[in-house]
Amino acid sequence: MEKSYYNPEDLKKFGNIAEFDAELAAKFFDYYGEVFKEGALTAREKSLIALAVAHAVQCPYCIDAYTQDTIAKGCSEEQMMEAVHVTAAIRGGASLVHGVQMMNKAKKLVM
């Protein structure tokens, strides 16, 4: 067993998930490829969304991959950091908006 749960080398082996289930892996990677193609959103916009989501799910492989991808697609460091702040705002907001639930309950309980 590895001494660490995460190994940067494993990112390159993502395709190896097909080893245990080729059919589902093929479906997933086909879908993945389609999702990131130019569409109503540009490939560049999708890459920035992916970078933001990568931070939301805190996946180090995804952060590695989409830092490279956004840079390659011409995003500036400023745009990349703004995307991460969107993540932070949504995650922070998601916590804080539950404060309303807390307040509702508190108001009900307290005289």
């Binding site: 130019e38 560049r44 991808d69 840079i71 390659a72 011409g74 500036s76």
Partner: protein, 353 residues
Amino acid sequence: MALIKSLKSRNSDLAEPAEQLKLLNGDIFREGKLPTFREKLMEINAFPLKPAAIKIFQMNIGYMCNQTCKHCHVDAGPDRKEIMSRETMQRCIDIISEHKFDTVDITGGAPEMNPDFRWFVSELRKTEVREIIVRCNLTIILANAKYNDLPEFFKANRIRVVSSLPFYNADRTDRQRGEGVFAKSVEALKLLNAVGYGLPDSGLILDLVYNPGGAFLPAEQSGLERDFKKELKDHFGIQFNMLLCLNNLPVSRFLEYLVESDNFDEYMDLLVRSFNPGAVQGVMCRDTISVDYDGFIYDCDFNQMLKMKVDRNASQHINDFDIKKLTERNIVINQHCFGCTAGAGSSCQGATT
């Protein structure tokens, strides 16, 4: 921003092609962690790599340049004195007249700094060659009053101008090409637009070259071209024809950058993993030959910088130019060639797939 100097002027070990080749054949390839380029070609039955037809006669007419870009595979700079003589140029014109190549591609350094540049281009225009490309770094147009009329000169000689602009903003461009380069490049592009270059229906072609400002591969060419066109038009009113996306090859100063930033192994791994069999048929060495300032012949400009001349059974110098032998030669390869087959493929004419 630190001032960049050529490897040669710094007496760097990497100024020597042998040192570069030692790195390119280092542990990661020797210990079998990565396959060699030869092995990858053998896997797809493409070894030895052979030319198709030679259509592009590329000439490097000197390593002197007004810029010292961080990624330069030529190790060009103001201190480089290697320059093609008029006599060698004349010999090339004779060859070009005889063999009727589609394109003559003039590069450097800043080719305009060769004192015989204008004479050469004017003489070349008298031949039947269909297309003459000048790889203009843009800032040369503003570097000295004697170069200010280059846009008119290019126009008069129906030159296709191909210019490097690694990004559409100052930060990324200047980090690679030197402080203030972006602003001067914008100024030069406006001067080229002013005489008609890059404008629809003018017939005057102005292409830009994008190469990544670091250890990564370019994104898809058409998407980047769209962004470049929009940004340059919206912010500076600049127009151009095509964006050519090039991969950085691990040669000379880009190789130094990879080593110093601890990216060498990762980048080579990226190039090998991104090997695209579909890009092999379109590699530029299959339709291009590269001639150095001294008249020696190479499979490409990168091999030129690594001093890897064409196969000894082909003619290695313009004085022995033999089109038949050159067309039948085996192309000389090494690990840097992975740069031309990675991703969408890469050549002096942009992506190859």
